[in-house]
């Protein structure tokens, strides 16, 4: 029996190659993602250890909530206390800050894509000079070697540096390797280093340090010294040992790499899921072609169990083969992915691509799992083949009844929909939410595929109608062939359906985000200019200094400049952690109006009140005039009065404090965003006067911002356009990733069609004999594929619409308030699907056309 299985596989080489190929793609992707993230992770883990070498203990302020950089600076006095502890050899105060952008020789800011732009105090065990000397004095800095090389920075030249609070010129005096004496391991960050005093001042540490690095005397027991230091510094500060510090550094990075890896993995699993559909389909078709042969086996004494086992064994063989190739290919793919990400601007470390045991196990689970699970239902049907099939004229598999399909498919869709609904609206935590949504989506997809044969014939005929009108008999053949086997059409289209459902869902959500943004700008934003980091986003790690807004505010053309800050998960409100937004209570609403329902923002006490969106206000059970207790990263708490409750969370998020309150509790002063308005400007002015005011104010602003390449200023029209363009490019990125699923789906269509053509050999021979030309035959095959593709596209887009609208409703108002549907894009998807189907069918069509008429007629 096993020998027969192997023979079977080998006999149909092309079929074997195609089936294997589809599984290989899925396995490759999974292995590639794991291998890449593992290797990035381990090279960083090594770096974390390198960076901390020479540091036995670290002393710092405790931090319960907020950003690492929100720790209260450690004053010199504590450094002195630590230095006096017996066993301590050396204490170095260290300073680090974000938003320290070097401006290159051309006047452009060096803005890393993704990683932060950091400023440091010089630290000899972490920075290894390769040229020049360490920075000393207020006018000098050093830079990591990669940044210097990439941007042509030369020792001896003077460069501007835009820091957290100001911009100043410094002379480049040294170039160093970051983290490793032999190579720069900066991983894409730009690292500017200053002497300690300069760093404290320029990087806004208010005379203190982010942390103290303590070296223990040789021979002293670090644990004993740690205890002594802890006793000396008291409870206001904490001390940790090197192992803990390394773990923390690794954990921070792991969080980033996990998000990155999970996103890639999600795409990998989608492609695996799509592959499963195609594999199942191929097994079903192949089984259909082998009914007579299997009937013969049954007739000569094979048991039903043996027959079904041989089907599963064949699948398992495909699985083993694909897994092995997939693992090898995955290692290659990891390199390709790394190169692609690098080309896209991400700085990823070099180093060997790692293949861990877990990756191999996962590859086997995916490769074997997909094939074996896909073969279960064909195997069950194979068991039911009767020995009579060998004798019958045209043996057929018994198809499952329609009513059963409706019941099973309907049930799956219903359960899936409930799970999706629970996920979207049930208020779960991240993990159960993702589980509920993904299991729900999988059930809906499978259920729809089970259900769709019920209407596949009618829908395929409807889609094919214009094609028949257009192309006559070939069109009619295409139409009827697409409709003749509803089950096959459904499962072939199923793979495409999934891809397009995801793409359309992303499209609907993206369009809704865009619509929300446009609505907000049009209805709630009165500012004339928008000041943002040059990278263009609302990235809390890429802020700019208040120096810019101060200079702009001093311009006579502008009557008001408001700066805004934001910190994720950095305050507590009545005990639970929240993100916070800031504005200028007195004047901010003139630019950004969150639609106050009760109370007043303008009259609120900047240092004693908070503004709430209506939802959290309801959840907290507070109204205007009530008090909430707010905790800050510096460990302090304040009782703040609710001064106003507003309804539009798309601007200010949910919790708003005044900038003055921020300054009291946060150690960073960078703005993430600012708005400005033109003096004397009003929508009611005549067009010419408005244009003149816009032009003159733009010129004045340009004179200021020319010196600040880290920011960009856009007027209303430009701002609106550039934000929409950002969203568009994000959507395109997602679509490209999902395009992989579409590619697999198209391979599936090609494979199915090739098998169908093979199956219809005699029919094709007959058609050719009675006068179907090769061109007409090719056309019929191609348009059949187009009909199947459009069928899948319509199903997918319908599901995507439902998913997208549900998601848009479920996403908090902060991001999506109005639901919009990108009809044009959806229509384009249908056309693209049709064209892709035509392309996928080129090879099967050619194969059909090449068939020898006589062989075809004579075929058994």
């Amino acid at each position: 029996m096993f020998k027969l299985t192997v023979r079977n596989l080998l006999r149909k080489k092309i079929r074997f190659a195609l089936t294997t190929g589809i599984v290989v793609i899925g396995v490759m992707f999974v292995v590639g993602v794991f291998a890449l993230t593992d290797s990035i992770r381990s090279s960083f883990d090594g770096l974390a250890g390198d960076i901390e070498s020479g540091v036995d203990l670290t002393v710092r302020s405790p931090l319960d909530i907020g950003d690492e950089l929100d720790r209260v600076p450690v004053p010199q006095a504590i450094a002195d206390v630590v230095a006096a502890v017996p066993g301590v050899a050396r204490v170095d105060g260290r300073v680090v800050a974000r938003n320290t952008f070097v401006i290159d020789g051309n006047g452009d800011a060096i803005i890393p894509k993704g990683p932060p732009a950091l400023g440091f105090s010089w630290f000899p065990t972490q920075f290894f000079l390769i040229e020049g000397h360490a920075p000393t004095g207020p006018g000098e800095f050093a830079i990591n070697s990669t940044t210097a090389a990439d941007h042509g920075l030369v020792v001896g030249n003077t460069y501007g540096i835009s820091g957290p609070t100001q911009q100043r010129d410094f002379e480049l005096v040294g170039i160093f390797h970051f983290g490793d004496p032999n190579e720069d391991k900066s991983l894409g960050v730009t690292a500017a280093a200053f002497d300690t005093t300069t760093a404290q001042q320029f990087l806004d540490r208010k005379g203190g340090f982010n942390e103290l690095s303590v070296a223990v005397e040789p021979g002293a027991d670090p644990a004993v010294v740690e205890k002594a230091v802890a006793d000396a510094i008291g409870s206001k500060y904490e001390v940790i040992n090197r192992a803990t510090k390394i773990k923390e550094t690794q954990r921070d990075f792991n969080q980033f790499i996990s998000i990155f890896g999970n996103v890639l993995l999600a795409f990998a699993l989608i492609s695996v899921f799509v592959s499963a559909f195609i594999i199942n389909n191929v097994f079903q078709i192949v089984l259909g072609q082998r009914v007579r042969e299997l009937g013969l086996l049954r007739a000569i004494g094979a048991t039903g169990r043996q027959v079904s086992r041989s089907v599963i064994a064949e699948a398992a063989l495909v699985g083993v083969f694909s897994t092995v190739i997939g693992i090898v290919g995955g290692l290659g793919l990891a390199r390709v992915l790394r190169a692609m990400l690098r080309a896209g601007g991400f700085s990823l470390p070099d180093g060997p691509i790692e293949l861990r045991a877990r990756t191999i196990i996962f590859a086997i689970v995916v490769g074997m799992g997909v094939t074996v699970i896909s073969s279960i239902s064909p195997a069950r049907r194979a068991r039911q083949i009767s020995p009579m099939a060998a004798l019958s004229d045209s043996p057929r598999l018994t198809a499952s009844s329609l009513s059963r399909r409706v019941r099973v498919g309907g049930l799956m869709v219903a359960i899936g929909a409930v799970l999706l609904g629970l996920g979207l609206f049930g208020g779960f935590d991240t993990k159960p939410l993702l589980l509920s949504i993904s299991v729900g989506a999988i059930l809906v997809f499978i259920g729809t595929t089970v259900l769709s044969p019920v209407f596949a014939r009618q829908l395929a005929r409807a889609i094919g109608w214009p094609i028949q009108k257009l192309f006559g008999v070939p069109g009619q053949l295409a139409r009827e062939n697409a409709a003749r086997s509803p089950r096959r059409t459904s499962s072939t289209a199923g793979a495409l359906m999934i891809g397009l459902a995801l793409v359309s869902m992303a499209g609907v959500v993206g369009e809704s985000i865009k619509q929300t943004f446009v609505d907000t700008i049009d209805n709630s934003v009165q500012a004339d200019y928008f000041i943002q980091p040059a990278s263009g986003g609302f990235d809390p790690t890429a802020g700019f200094s208040t120096e810019v807004t101060d200079k702009l505010a001093a311009l006579p053309d502008l009557d008001l400049v408001v700066g805004y800050r934001f910190a994720r998960n950095s305050i507590t409100v009545n005990g639970s952690t929240k993100s916070v937004f800031t504005t200028d209570f007195a004047a901010g609403t003139r630019h950004l109006d969150p639609n106050v329902l009760s109370g007043s923002i303008k009259d609120a006490d900047p240092l004693g009140s908070i503004l709430l969106h209506k939802d959290p206000a309801r959840d907290l059970g507070v109204g205007v005039g009530d008090t909430v207790v707010v905790g800050f990263p510096d460990g302090k708490f304040e009782a703040l009065k609710v001064a106003a409750i507003y309804s539009d969370s798309s601007i200010y998020d949910n919790y708003v404090i005044d900038n003055a309150m921020w300054d009291r509790h946060f150690n960073r002063s960078e703005l993430i965003f600012a708005t400005a308005s033109i003096r004397g400007y009003s929508k009611d002015l005549p067009e010419s006067q408005r244009a003149a005011l816009l032009a003159s104010s733009a010129a004045s602003i340009e004179r200021v911002t020319r010196q600040y390449p880290t920011i960009k200023v856009e007027n209303r029209v430009k701002f609106r356009e550039s934000q929409q363009a950002r969203l568009d490019s994000f959507l395109i990125t997602i679509t490209i990733f999902l395009g992989l699923a579409l590619l697999i789906a198209l391979i599936g269509i090609a494979v199915t069609l090739a098998l169908s053509v093979f199956e219809r050999t005699r029919e094709i021979g007959l058609l050719r004999a009675v006068g179907l030309t090769r061109r007409q035959l090719r056309r019929a095959v191609r348009w059949e594929a187009a009909i199947v593709s459009v069928f899948g596209a319509l199903l997918g887009i319908s599901l995507g619409l439902v998913f997208g609208v549900a998601a848009s409703i479920a996403i908090p108002d902060t991001a999506v308030k109005s639901v919009a549907i990108p009809w044009l894009s959806l229509a384009i998807y249908v056309i693209v699907a049709a064209v892709a189907g035509l392309i996928a069918a080129i090879l099967p069509a050619r194969r059909a056309a090449r068939m020898n008429v006589l062989d075809a007629i004579a075929a058994e």
């Binding site: 006559g472 008999v473 009619q476 053949l477 009827e480 062939n481 409709a483 003749r484 005699r762 029919e763 007959l766 058609l767 050719r768 004999a769 009675v770 006068g771 179907l772 030309t773 090769r774 061109r775 007409q776 008429v853 006589l854 007629i857």
Partner: protein, 254 residues
């Protein structure tokens, strides 16, 4: 559509098809098989010819070559005046569509098309409208009026074969080739089909060439040609089943 095929109708030399020293060789060297070994034969218009012969005699190969489904190794075949060896693959297809009708032993119909769609298929492929009066005549002759909207799977074997004969007749071709048209049918149904084909010749003036090894089927023809080992060995005019059977015994095969 080619000018050559059009002229052939006008020239109308009284022959619907002919083969001249037709040779077909499969394989090479030791494995060489001469399926046709210099066959020269004429098929007159309006006549019903049966090609007889034992299995492997080359009768199917001869028909395939005459019908432009297969190509010769040597010699020539003509449909009307058109030398098939001079035609490209595309023109052969068009010739089959426009000038030739086919009835095969089995699998004659496209399963996704209805009976009437199958019947008009060659004309639909050519983008021509069928001659409605002729079509009605054909359909009524084979008695399929109430079955035209059915798909092949809804028809009996005999009905399917009648649809196939109708298709061959519908475009009023120059010649119809039938390959064991009754091979898959029981004798009663088979006799019906043979009667229809006889009628097509007598009443509609069609030309039919039928390959068969069934003496009863051959008895319906005007003439029986006997093929052995790729050569024409004999022929009988107005064959009866007995004469044919006799002849076949004489040839020393089954």
């Amino acid at each position: 559509m080619t000018t050559t095929t059009t002229t052939s109708i006008e020239t109308g030399a009284g022959l619907a098809a002919r083969a001249v020293s037709a040779t077909k060789v499969y394989g090479r060297g030791d494995t060489e098989v001469r399926a046709l070994d210099g066959v020269t034969v004429d098929f007159e218009k309006g006549r019903y010819t049966a090609i007889m012969g034992p299995s492997g005699s080359g009768k199917s190969t001869l028909m395939h070559c005459l019908a432009g489904l297969d190509t010769l190794t040597g010699g020539q075949v003509f449909i009307g005046d058109v030398d098939l060896s001079s035609l490209s693959e595309r023109h052969l297809t068009l010739l089959r569509r426009d000038k030739i009708g086919f009835v095969f032993q089995a699998f004659n119909l496209v399963p996704t098309l209805t009976a009437i769609e199958n019947i008009t298929l060659p004309m639909d492929l050519a983008g021509r409208d069928p001659n409605q009066a002729w079509l009605d005549n054909v359909i009524d002759t084979v008695g399929l009026r109430d079955r035209t909207g059915h798909r092949p799977s809804e028809l009996s074997g005999g009905q399917q074969q009648r649809v196939a004969v109708s298709r061959a007749l519908a475009s009023n071709p120059e010649i119809i080739f039938a390959d064991e048209p009754t091979g898959n049918l029981d004798s009663t149904t088979g006799a019906e089909i043979l009667d229809f084909m006889r009628k097509a010749v007598d009443e509609m003036g069609q030309t039919i060439v039928m390959v068969t090894h069934d003496p009863v089927a051959a008895a319906h023809a005007d003439r029986a040609v006997f093929l052995v080992d790729g050569r024409i060995v004999d022929e009988i005019s107005d064959p009866t089943a007995e004469k044919v059977l006799d002849q076949m015994k004489h040839l020393g095969h089954r």
